[in-house]
């Protein structure tokens, strides 16, 4: 395969708080290729958003710091880039669509202004041109009478329309990588589908890569090419989407999948697995999932397993299932 657009390895982002060090991201590895969608799933609080912010280097200083790992964007380590150059990448080559359309637009600026400022900044054009481009971007995401609505304020748009504005904003500079952090969580079902369809179009038309963070395994099945499953700041399983659904290895992933009643049913949110996810400030030694694991062994609570390659494009972080795989079956036998 060609060089990935983005390759994250060993990423560690910690928060140094008064209560202690919160290891929000503590070992995240994945790749994203052009024209592909990577899904990141995992329970709330497992570090998905912090991962995306780490990629953009927007983790709130001074408590939050990325303390380890590499983020190679087209072969260049973003973590080593001077801030000025990083600003040239943000919004321009990597764009963010954040979680909540209600709060991610500035209430006191018109939507046009918010789109145009990025265009002016990155494409070095005058306001007239920027305005035209902004209208085009709004039209592209399906906002009717964009030319007049461009001067309206965010509160004058509905939730779905606002998310379209956010997407238009993210797309305005034609980024190579789009990071969408739960882009549809706050929207109702019909609008969700429209937004997802819109994103799918974008991927196909523009050859953009997308990192899609979601709770929704149905969305994953429909949209993604690869999936990274996160638990307590770590990627515990990484694979192409078919393998994840057909042959999940990590007990946590299995738990997640078991909670989908029927394949193909759209409303299949992650149903919580029994027990609570651990506090990221007080992680026990060993596997963080061990206390909730149905296949727990002594070793699990003693040492943290590594993310091991068990197949092409399939990696798992688990003593039990990775080990099982090792001995009886020959490599590649699962497929």
């Amino acid at each position: 395969m060609a060089e990935p657009l983005l390759k994250v390895s060993g990423l560690q982002t910690h928060f140094f708080t008064e209560e202690g060090v919160v290891k929000a991201v503590d070992g995240v590895d994945f790749e994203v290729h052009r024209g592909q969608v990577l899904g990141i799933v995992g329970e709330s609080g497992c570090g998905k958003s912090v991962t995306t912010l780490s990629i953009l280097r927007l983790v709130a200083a001074p408590q939050g710091r990325t303390v380890g790992g590499q983020i190679l964007f087209k072969g260049q380590d973003l973590l080593k880039l001077p801030e000025a150059q990083m600003r040239g990448i943000r919004g321009n080559r990597i764009a963010l669509i954040s979680q909540d359309p209600l709060t991610s637009l500035n209430p006191v600026l018109t939507v046009g202004e918010q789109i145009m400022e990025a265009i002016i900044l990155h494409q070095h054009v005058d306001r007239r041109t920027a305005r035209k481009k902004a209208i085009a971007a709004l039209e592209a995401v399906g906002i009717p009478s964009a030319a007049s609505r461009i001067d309206e304020y965010p509160h004058q748009f509905s939730g779905g329309m606002r998310q379209r504005v956010v997407i238009a904003m993210a797309l305005s500079c034609e980024p190579e990588l789009l990071i969408a952090d739960e882009p549809t969580t706050a929207l109702d079902v019909t609008i969700q589908a429209q937004i997802l369809a819109l994103m799918d179009d974008i991927r196909r038309q523009r050859e953009a890569a997308i990192i899609l963070i979601t709770h929704d395994l149905g969305v994953v099945a429909e949209m993604c090419d690869y999936v990274a499953v996160m638990y307590a700041g770590k990627v515990v399983e990484y694979s192409d989407v078919a393998t994840i659904f057909a042959n999940p290895k990590h007990p946590y992933t299995r738990g997640l999948l078991k909670s989908i009643p029927q394949l193909g049913e759209k409303k299949s949110r992650l149903v919580p697995i029994e027990g609570q996810p651990p506090s990221l400030a007080l992680l026990p030694p060993g596997c963080a999932f061990a206390p909730r694991c149905t296949e727990y062994t002594r070793k699990c609570s003693q040492q943290m397993p590594l993310l091991e390659q068990i197949d092409t494009n399939h990696m798992v972080r688990c003593w039990v299932t990775a080990g099982q795989q090792d001995t009886p079956a020959p490599a590649g036998a699962t497929r």
Partner: protein, 317 residues
């Protein structure tokens, strides 16, 4: 918008009436009543007092007096001072420009400094700078204003001789603007120190609140420089809640600052009010209180209108 303003004004009327009623009753409940200024003077005989009472209509039933008083005030007739015999409105107006100047300057100065400090310490949260500003703000807040005024005077007027120890103009130079500004420095500093502390605290927390918002992160994610993020995206939003506070401090522009005016011999409304209190000059006191009450209500209204202008989310319904 017009209808909104009219409705707000109409709803303020009962409020104002309530305030005037309370003020009126207060005046009558004070020891000595409205004629305390005369009652303390041993040379005024009871029969004279009775005469004055009659002249001023104080022998009428209380409710009637209230309506007379209210009616007179509505026509701008606040009566004559018991101590000077002058129309109290004229006395008030003669002091008003001085107080507006002093309080206005201090509001502007303290706002600018306070807001800048607040923003700076919010974006450098937990830095040495933030810590210093926070500490100074707490000191400024808890400084006894009176003591601070005297210390200012001792250092800058007595020791260093940089500024005059009081008054509004040098006797020698008549009315120069520089001379005025020179006289304003110490009282404005004294007034500003506490409000700078207040504004900076308020601005800091408002700014911190805003900086955490998604749209600020989104602004950063667009690649905007830190300066643009702070000034264009965060600052304006952080200012919105401040507007209410600013508007609420506007009545102070009229009322003046008793202590500062007293210490620095500033001929403002605050000192006039103090004089009215000390001499039990009730018409004067009532005029100042009533005008202040109206100013409070008007400022509230103003706050809402400006707030609406700043925040497009507010609608008038």
């Amino acid at each position: 918008m017009g209808a909104y303003v009219v409705r707000r004004i109409l709803t303020s009327i009962p409020l104002l009436l309530g305030v005037t009623l309370i003020l009126f009753l207060l005046m009558h409940l004070m020891p000595g009543g409205p004629l305390a200024a005369y009652a303390q003077n041993p040379h005024i005989r009871p029969e004279d007092l009775a005469k004055i009472r009659h002249i001023m209509g104080l022998d009428k039933p209380l409710w009637m007096q209230y309506f007379f008083w209210l009616g007179a005030m509505l026509t701008g007739n606040f009566g004559a001072s018991l101590t000077s015999g002058q129309p109290v409105l004229a006395m008030f107006l003669s002091r008003l420009p001085n107080t507006l100047m002093l309080m206005g300057a201090s509001l502007v100065v303290s706002l600018i400094i306070g807001v800048l400090l607040g923003v700076a310490s919010a974006i450098k949260q937990y830095s040495a700078f933030d810590f210093t500003v926070t500490t100074l703000a707490f000191i400024g807040y808890s400084l006894p204003v009176f003591w601070f005024g005297v210390v200012l005077m001792l250092i800058f007027a007595a020791d260093l001789r940089w500024f005059p120890a009081g008054g509004i103009h040098s006797i020698a130079s008549h009315g120069g603007i520089l001379d005025l500004a020179w006289h304003m420095v110490l009282p404005v500093t004294m007034l500003s120190i506490v409000s700078v502390a207040g504004w900076s605290r308020y601005m800091r927390s408002s700014m911190l609140e805003v900086i955490r918002q998604d749209y600020v992160r989104m602004a950063r994610a667009k690649g905007l420089s830190e300066q643009v993020v702070i000034m264009k995206h965060a600052f304006r939003n952080a200012l919105i809640p401040l507007v209410t506070l600013i508007a609420l401090s506007l009545p102070g522009l009229l009322g003046g600052a008793i202590m500062t005016e007293q210490i620095f011999g500033w001929p403002g409304v605050g000192r006039l009010f103090f004089h009215a209190l000390a001499e039990s000059d009730y018409p004067l006191m009532m005029a100042i209180l009533t005008i202040s009450a109206v100013a409070v209500v008007v400022s509230n209204l103003l706050a809402d209108i400006v707030y609406a202008a700043l925040d497009p989310r507010i609608r008038y319904d």
